[in-house]
Symmetry: C4
Subunit: 194 residues, 4 copies
C-alpha cells in the first residue's frame, strides 16, 4: 500500500511537470499566421527533448517500482530528492529554449540532468539495499551500464557547452536515444519473475 501511494504521488508530480512545461510555449499575441510560429521552434524543440527525458524517467521509475516489494522512509526521501531535480526541468527547458540553446543554458540543462541522474542512482541503490543483492530488481539492473555511462556523458556535455554548444546538445539527445532503445533483457527478466 505504501508503495502505491509513492507511485501515485510521483505520477502526479511527473504528470504536472510534463504539462506545465508546455506553458513555456507562449501563445503569440495578435499574430495569426505561420510566421508567428517560427520563433517558437527552439522552445518547442527544447520541450520535446525534456518531454522525452521525463518520459524516460517515468518509464524507468515505473519498472523499478514494479519489481520492488517494500519502501522505507529513506526511499520516500530519495524519491522526493529525485522529484526536486526533475521539478527544475521546466525552468531549465524554458531558459534553454528561449535563448536558442546558448552555452550557459546548455550547461545548466546538463547540470540538471546530471543531478537528476545522480538522484535516480541514489534512489535505485536505496531500493536495492532493502530488496537485497539477489532480488529481481538487482538482477534486472545487472551492471547498469546505461546508468553509469549517463553521468559521464552529461559531464562531457556540460564541458562541451562552452566549447561547441551543439556538441552538448547532441550529447543530451544521444543519451535520450540510448535510453529510448528498449532494453529487452531487463524487460525479459522482469517478465520471467511474473
Amino acid at each position: 500500500m505504501r508503495k502505491g501511494r509513492l507511485e501515485a504521488f510521483s505520477d502526479g508530480v511527473l504528470a504536472i511537470i510534463l504539462t506545465i512545461m508546455v506553458l513555456e510555449i507562449k501563445v503569440p499575441h495578435g499574430a495569426a499566421n505561420f510566421a508567428a510560429l517560427k520563433p517558437l521552434l527552439p522552445v518547442t524543440l527544447s520541450y520535446l527533448l525534456s518531454f522525452i527525458y521525463i518520459g524516460i524517467y517515468w518509464n524507468n521509475h515505473h519498472m523499478m517500482l514494479a519489481s520492488t516489494s517494500r519502501v522505507s522512509g529513506g526511499v520516500l526521501w530519495a524519491n522526493l530528492h529525485l522529484l526536486f531535480w526533475l521539478s527544475l526541468v521546466p525552468f531549465a527547458t524554458g531558459w534553454m529554449g528561449e535563448n536558442h540553446f546558448a552555452p550557459a543554458t546548455l550547461a545548466v540543462y546538463g547540470v540538471m540532468l546530471l543531478m537528476a541522474g545522480v538522484a535516480y542512482f541514489v534512489l535505485q541503490n536505496c531500493i536495492i539495499a532493502i530488496e537485497g543483492p539477489h532480488s529481481a530488481l538487482a538482477r534486472a539492473i545487472g551492471r547498469d551500464l546505461k546508468g553509469k555511462a549517463s553521468p559521464v556523458l552529461y559531464l562531457a556535455g556540460i564541458a562541451a557547452s562552452f566549447w561547441q554548444p551543439w556538441v552538448a546538445g547532441g550529447i543530451y539527445v544521444a543519451v535520450a536515444l540510448m535510453w529510448l532503445i528498449p532494453d529487452r533483457r531487463i524487460e525479459r527478466t522482469l517478465v520471467e519473475r511474473v
Copy 2:
C-alpha cells in the same frame, strides 16, 4: 499493476491539460461588467471544443484500457506519444481562440487533432498486437469506421482552413459530435465480456 499506473499517469496528464486550458480565459482586469466578458467568447468556444475532444480521448482511452490485460514497453511509449500531441492542445486552443478562428490557427488546430488521432491509432494497434486479433478489444473495435474517418476529415478541415475557415471549424465540431454519440455496439461487447 503496470496497467494501473499507465492509466493513473494518463489520467493525471489529461486532467491537467483540461484544467490549464482554462487559464487561457484570462480574467479581464479592471472591468466588472458583462461587456468585459464579450471578448472572451471566442476563447471560451475554443475551450469548449477542446474540452470535449479531451473528454472523448479520456473516454476512449478508458474503454480501450478497460479491455486490455497487459502493457509492454512499446505501449508505454505509444501512450506517451499520444500524450505529447494532446499536451499541445492548450497552445493550439489558446491561439485559435485569441485570433477568432483565423485560417492559420484553424489549420494548426487541425494538424494537432490529426497527429493526436494518428497517435491514438498507433497506440490501439500496439495494444491489439499484444492482445491478439480475437481479443475483446479487437472485436469491440471491429472495422473502426470512426477511427478511419477522423484523419480524413481532419485533413479536409486543414485544407478548408485557407478556403472557408468556418467549414474547417464545422468539420472539427462534426467529428467531435460523431464521437460523442454513444457507440452502443462497443459498450455491449465490452459488457458481455465482463
Copy 3:
C-alpha cells in the same frame, strides 16, 4: 474498475482546480510589508469561498460514488459536464475577487454555481437510473431537500446581485454553510449498508 478511474480523473481535475485558483492571489511585486497584503483581501475571501464549494463537491461526489456499483458511458459524460462547469470556478473566482464583488461578477459567479448544481443533479439522476430507485444511493439521498433548494437559492442570489450585491454574497455563503453541516442521516444510511 471503471468506477475507480472515473474517481481518479475527477479527483485530479478537482485537485488542480483547487490549486490553480490560488494563482489568482498574485504575489505583490516590490512590496514586502503588511500593507501590500491588504489589496489581496477580496481575492483571498473569494478564494476561500470557492475552496469550500470545491470541497463540498469533492465530498459529495466521493460519497455518491462510494455507494455506486456501476458506471455507464452516460455517467462518464454527465461527470465531464459537471467538471466543465467546475473548471470555470477559477475564472469566476478571480474576476469576482479582483473587482471586489461587483454586481456583474456576483451574478456570473451565481450562474456558474447554478450550472454546476444542475450538472450535479443530472449526474446524480444518471447514476440512480442505473442503480435503481431502491438502491442505497437513492435511499440515502431521499427527498434531496438541499439539492432542490440550492438552485432556487442561486437564482435568488443572481437576482439580488443587481439589487443588493451583499445579499447575493450572503446567499452564496449560506448555501455553502448549509452543505457544510454534516448530514448525519445520509452518512448513517451509507454506513449501515457497509
Copy 4:
C-alpha cells in the same frame, strides 16, 4: 475505499502545490549567462525550504493514513482544512523569495506554517478520536513531542521576524531538519503492526 480516495486527492493537491511553486522561479528573459541566475538565488532557496516542508507533510500524512482504518466526514473536512493552508505555501514562498526574506514576508511564512501545523494537529486528533486511544496510530505518535514543539517554534520565528529576520529563517530551517531526521521509533511501531 473511502480512505483511498482521500489519499489520492491529497496526493494530487500536494503534487500540484509542489510543482506550481517552481513557477515562481521565473525564466530570465533575454539573458543567457550565469549572472542572470544570481537574482534567482533567494527564490530558489525559498522554494527548496518549501519543497522540504511539503515533502515532510506528504511523508507524515502518508504514514498517518497508512495506520488508519476508517475515515469520517469530519476527517474529510479536517483534511481539506490542512490542504487549504498548504495551498497558500506557493504564495508565501514566492513573496518571501522575491523580497529576499524581508521581515513581513518571514512573519507571513511563519503564520502559514503555524496554521498548517495546527490543521495537521486537528486532523491527527480527528483520526485518533475514531481509531481509539489504544490504536496503532495513537501508540506510534506517543507523546508527539515534535508536533507540540513545532507551533511554539513557529511562534518564536514569527516574533523573531521583526527583531532579527535571520533568526526566524534559521528557526524555520531547524524545524524542517527536526522533522527530516527519521523517527525510527514510529516506523518500528508501524512495521510491527504489519
